[in-house]
């Protein structure tokens, strides 16, 4: 009895301390610059994300997301220029298509709430900080991803 209680407490404490691991893809021209602007403006957000810079969100392969989940990431963000603003003219339109399709798979796997695709411009530092904050809270509510 006592032992169970102890481990429960431990579990509660662990839950409270759950700090999600989130991979965030940023395109070089818009969302990465937006993330920089969040820094320059000192908009604070949780230290839960690790940004991987790519030149265009069109470079992000759906496989990267699946691999991340396979390696137990708690959430994945993919960010790019707003539709129409892509530095490479149309790269993000392919991103949109690809991830709409990936979403179906993620839905099937029960992972859809752990993934989000967002458009962030170079002037949206605030939006970037808010996105990370809300997404982190969302993942915290879902709890850690156990092996799938």
């Amino acid at each position: 009895m006592k032992i169970v209680e102890k481990s429960d407490k431990k579990q509660v404490k662990k839950d409270r301390e759950f700090k999600p691991n989130i991979v965030c893809f940023c395109c070089n021209w818009c969302s990465y610059a937006g993330a920089d602007l969040a820094g320059v403006s000192r908009f604070q957000y949780p230290a839960s994300i690790r940004i991987i810079r790519v030149m265009c969100s069109g470079r992000v392969e759906p496989a990267f997301i699946l691999k991340s989940f396979k390696d137990n990431v708690d959430g994945v963000l993919v960010t790019g220029c707003h539709i129409g603003d892509c530095h490479y003219i149309s790269g993000n339109e392919f991103t949109k298509d690809r991830f709409e399709r990936l979403m179906k798979i993620l839905k099937y796997l029960g992972l859809k709430d752990r993934f989000r695709l967002e458009w962030i411009s170079a002037s949206e530092g605030k939006k970037f900080a808010e996105l990370v904050t809300t997404f982190t809270n969302q993942i915290k509510k879902l709890g850690p991803l156990n092996n799938i």
């Binding site: 820094g39 320059v40 957000y45 790519v54 265009c56 390696d71 892509c86 530095h87 790269g91 170079a122």
Partner: protein, 1041 residues
């Protein structure tokens, strides 16, 4: 015929020298020098002090982005130092000038450093052993101390020590010579004498900057007290490398001040004993200093004693609002009578009149920071005399005309930066590109005659992909920007334990020139084949470190950068543990990627030497003329039927009162008659394809005539519109409520009968601008425009009653304060505040049209008066069609809809997209003088590219792995640049040959976006620097824990 033309051109060029002298090594001189070398001219950069960097190097942060000032400046300083075509002459002064435009003879005096510049390694051993004779540190505004052998500041360029001859024991008393014994490089040379150097140049740029008036201030400002300091002194105190290492302390007891008072206009805008003009930048840097103070210590209280609030630039007004709303900085609308010291506590008592309640108050503060006037450099008159140019009544250099502030009255001598009149950093940078353009226009015939190619002395290391990766890592503290919020030593220890990390070091500033030397030493010493810097953002600093790696023989694509400042320490200021963990992860991920990096080759791209200018207003005209004059075909597209833009709607222009039409005429005529210029009126751009050097543009003219042109660069000069105040003050219904532009149109009629029935005119400023919601910005030009029109109207009808209702008057810049004082006699000035807008009602008695009711802010009472005509000063806004253009050009807009430049401070007229530039009101509302200067700047930035015949393309490209390619063509379908085509390849097998389709990528056209690689069903495309394996390795490295 052609022969004689050639020979006359030859004799013309014979006397021209393809080099320029730049006097002053601040940001103005630095930018002008860098631009000039890219345009094909040799530069002699002469700086009076031992290091370049100027005032900007002394600043802690810059407004309105709070960028670390030195962080953005240092890369440029280093670039100057490395540039083989800039002869840097620090600690030197120009002493004699003769000759004429195109060919000047210059004598320069080089003062003795007593340290051999070529031998000194900047190690600092000498200073550490120099006996303790400590002199005031000039760079720290005399607040800190330094030895008699010293370097001005850690990031100084050149990174060379010097001996203060007034302080040195040996030079004064003949004893000591410790430094000479200590220096292993044997760089100390007490025998050095002043040396005269003679050079010949084609043009001269003067950029000697400003000083801050302090000791000559009248007594009532209390500067004599210990705890009253100037804002430049305070910048040093705020700075992490300043006298108190970034701790905000006051001088008397070196304790943290709790209450800090910032006093604006201390000694300026004073027509009796002070400086008459407004220094332009103080309102903004004071807001910045208060914000930074609150960031240092949130419990401190900041008070700003202001007069008018002059926040007229991009995002400026919003910034001052943030200081109040988010940081709790308190503003007092006040007049200071006196500042006195409490001798016991050394606190200061500020005696002031609060203009909001009309009463006198005292405020006790622990520290007072004075925004004292910025005045011409003390050398300005001396330099003017040597150059044979004039200074104006304030001792700023006198410009050629009111609308050509970049030229002096002397041909071939140009003016740039604060030495011509007050301006901020982005304006200075745009002006610097503008003067470079002026030089280029003068000397274009001798472009590229004196240039040297950049020589990389270390040959590129051959990297075999099978070689074990040897990675070097440098982790930056960025002063305290990273070090305060991330435990850098802990990160360093962790990184050292990672496989393949051969060496890892930390340092205070990775961007400084001594750090570049350190990186090169590390690469050589440890025979590294990969290098990583963890510091700020690659968007600003990657290029610098890549070049350093190249100089050490490392292919630049073997360098990787980690952002642990903008995306870590700055956004996790309260999460040191998690932030430190994040920094470790990020660097570890970069190490994982770095192991898999490959060297990449860069190919060459030809440049179409033609330009496209969008918009035929004054900015577009100036840019067009400047580019065409230098021999490049220029296409000017204007959507209206007439060139001239907004100037076609104006009557007389500020500040010279010339008729706009007469002012415009010569420019339009020159453009029309120039053989290099093609004009497309009634035309729009309907399609833009391509990239720097090779844009394909379709111009559609009314009546569906279509022109296809090919250009190398594009300049956006599309201007801005006046806001039509549909819903405000009954504008729509009342024919006597009009905008300023409508007034100008009335004035243009020449016939002033419309004024006959008008006895009283009221101007309302800030209509629909500087609000909490909607349009939040200040439109910069409405105040001067309104005052100009008041003066014009008064002249036309002297008995006219004129009333101006304002909130703050934007009268910064040289001469405007006097203009304002002169205009006061022509109108009644009443002040209102945002929370109590004036009310206009229609009268019934018929004598006047309207009754205006107003709560007068200064009088604290309601005022009522009558008027016949109401002029609304509405802001300039970005036209709707910017959106379309922004999409076509792939360039962003800011939150107000104006075009967003590449960097607010140091790239004000570039876009992030290469080969596209910006000028005039499309960037931000500005007057004619500023538009012309900026158009010169944009032309200059463009000429850099047009004058180069070819450019190197990036090595960030996609490559097809032919064996995997199945020839499906999916990659070609998604490529936005048409860089991929399917080609037939013959494959020979044992006894037969097959013709197979394979994908082929043109690396000159490929921009490296990587979309094709994702689309490929067979993973047959390798995306360099962002390969599948590399990104996977990063994910794995992060998630393995």
């Amino acid at each position: 015929m052609s022969k004689s033309k050639n020979s006359s051109q030859k004799s013309q060029t014979d006397d021209l020298i393809g080099a320029a002298l730049v006097i002053g090594g601040g940001i103005a001189g630095i930018q002008a020098s860098l631009d000039l070398t890219e345009m094909g001219f040799k530069v002699f950069l002469v700086e009076k002090t031992p290091s370049i960097g100027g005032r900007m190097a002394q600043l802690d942060k810059t407004f309105p982005t709070n960028d670390c000032s030195l962080c953005i400046l240092a890369p440029k300083m280093v670039e100057v130092f490395r540039n083989p075509n800039i002869k840097l002459m620090t600690y030197s002064e120009v002493i004699e000038v003769s000759g004429h435009a195109g060919h000047f003879f210059i004598k320069i005096l080089k003062k003795p450093r007593y340290v051999d510049e070529d031998k000194c390694k900047g190690c600092g051993d000498c200073a550490s052993k120099c006996p303790k004779i400590e002199a005031p540190n000039i760079f720290d505004m005399n607040l800190g101390r330094r030895k008699s052998i010293y370097i001005p500041f850690p990031q100084a360029v050149p990174p060379v020590y010097l001996i203060d001859s007034d302080m040195c024991l040996f030079l004064n008393k003949g004893v000591c010579r410790v430094c000479e014994r200590i220096c292993e490089a044997q760089a100390i040379n007490f025998e050095q004498k002043p040396e005269e150097v003679q050079i010949e140049v084609g043009a001269i740029i003067v950029a000697i900057g400003f000083d801050m008036l302090a000791s000559k201030l009248p007594d009532n400002w209390g500067y004599k007290y210990e705890n009253v300091i100037t804002s430049l002194e305070y910048e040093r105190i705020l700075c992490a490398s300043g006298p108190f290492e970034g701790h905000v302390l006051r001088l008397s007891d070196e304790k943290e001040p709790h209450k800090i008072a910032f006093i604006q206009c201390a000694g300026s805008r004073d027509f009796h004993i002070g400086i008459p003009y407004c220094s332009s930048v103080c309102c903004m840097y004071t807001a910045k200093e208060a914000i930074i103070t609150k960031e240092h210590s949130n419990s401190s209280e900041c008070y700003i004693f202001r007069h008018d609030l002059r926040a007229y630039g991009k995002n400026f007004y919003e910034y001052t609002q943030r200081a109040q709303d988010e940081y709790g900085v308190k503003y007092f609308n006040s007049k200071i009578s006196k500042i006195v010291e409490d001798p016991k506590t050394k606190d200061l008592i500020i005696k002031y009149e609060d203009l909001d309640d009309g009463k006198f108050h005292d405020l006790r503060a622990n520290l007072v920071v004075l925004a004292t006037p910025l005045v011409p450099s003390e050398d300005s008159e001396k330099v003017a005399k040597i150059l044979g140019i004039n200074v104006d009544k304030y001792k700023f250099f006198k410009e050629k005309t009111l609308y050509d502030k970049l030229s002096s009255e002397q041909e071939g001598i140009f003016l740039c930066g604060f030495c011509q009149g007050p301006l901020d950093i982005p304006e200075t940078v745009a002006d610097a590109s503008g003067v470079a353009n002026k030089v280029s226009t003068l000397l274009y015939l001798v472009r590229n005659t004196l240039l040297k190619e950049k020589v990389v002395s270390v040959p590129e290391k051959k990297i075999n992909l099978e070689d074990e990766p040897c990675i070097g890592v440098m982790i930056c503290h960025c002063g305290i920007n990273i070090g305060k919020y991330v435990d850098v030593p802990q990160v360093l220890e962790y990184i050292k334990t990672l496989p393949n990390v051969t060496v890892a070091v930390d340092n205070l500033y990775s961007c400084s020139s001594d750090s570049q030397t350190r990186i090169k030493e590390l690469i050589a010493e440890y025979d590294l084949n990969r290098f990583i810097v963890a510091s700020c953002t690659p968007r600003t600093h990657e290029k610098l470190f890549q070049e350093t790696c190249e100089e050490a023989g490392l292919n630049k694509y073997l360098f990787e950068m980690v952002n642990i400042r903008d995306q870590c320490s700055w956004v996790h200021m309260e999460q040191k543990v998690d932030g430190t963990k994040k920094a470790k992860d990020l660097i570890e991920m970069a190490v994982a990627k770095s192991r898999l990096l490959k060297p990449q080759k860069e190919s060459k791209l030809s440049i179409t030497p033609e330009a496209l200018i969008i918009g035929g207003g004054i900015s577009g005209l100036i840019a067009t003329l400047n580019i065409a004059k230098q021999g490049f075909t220029t296409h000017l597209v204007e959507k209206e039927s007439k060139l001239g833009g907004n100037l076609n709607n104006l009557y007389q222009i500020f500040p010279g009162y010339q008729k706009a039409s007469e002012f415009l005429e010569p420019f339009v005529n020159k453009v029309k008659s120039h053989s290099n210029i093609n004009i497309y009126l009634n035309s729009n751009i309907t399609e833009i394809r391509g990239y720097i050097g090779n844009y394909d543009v379709i111009i559609t003219t009314k009546g569906n005539k279509v022109n296809n042109i090919k250009v190398g660069i594009i300049i956006v000069a599309t201007g801005a519109n006046e806001l039509i105040p549909e819903t405000i003050y009954n504008y729509k219904k009342e024919k006597n409520v009009i905008t300023q532009l409508e007034l100008e149109q009335k004035l243009r009629k020449e016939n002033i009968e419309w004024l006959d029935n008008i006895k009283s005119i009221t101007f309302i400023l800030c209509v629909n601008s500087r609000q909490k919601e909607g349009i939040t910005y200040c439109s910069n030009i409405c105040c001067t425009n309104a005052l100009k029109n008041i003066n014009i109207l008064k002249k036309l009808k002297p008995d006219l009653a004129l009333i101006l209702i304002y909130r703050d008057l934007q009268m910064s810049k040289k001469g405007n304060e006097e203009f304002y004082r002169d205009s006061r006699k022509n109108a009644l000035f009443l002040r209102y505040s945002l929370d109590k807008l004036p009310i206009i009602s229609k009268t019934k008695n018929g004598k006047f049209n309207y009754k205006i009711t107003l709560f007068e802010h200064n009088l604290k009472g309601e005022v009522e008066f009558y008027g016949d005509l109401i002029i609304l000063a509405t802001p300039m806004i970005a036209p709707e069609n910017f959106k379309e253009l922004s999409k076509m050009l792939k360039v962003p807009q800011d939150q107000s809809g104006f075009f967003l430049e590449a960097h607010v401070k140091l790239r004000p007229i570039d876009f992030a997209t290469d080969g596209v530039f910006l000028c005039g009101c499309a960037h931000w509302p500005k007057n004619i003088q500023e538009s012309i200067a900026q158009a010169n700047g944009a032309a200059g930035r463009a000429i850099r590219i047009l004058s180069a015949k070819e450019m190197k393309t990036s090595g960030l490209v996609a490559e097809v792995i032919e064996d995997y390619c199945i020839g499906c063509g999916k990659c070609a379908d998604v490529c936005p640049y048409n860089a991929i085509e399917l080609i037939e390849v013959e494959k020979t097998f044992e006894d037969y040959t097959l013709c197979l389709k394979k994908s082929n990528i043109n690396s000159a056209l490929c921009k490296g976006c990587g979309t094709c690689g994702v689309q490929c069903p067979n993973s047959a495309i390798f995306i360099s620097h962002f390969s599948f394996k590399q990104i996977n390795a990063m994910i794995k490295a992060y998630l393995k824990n």
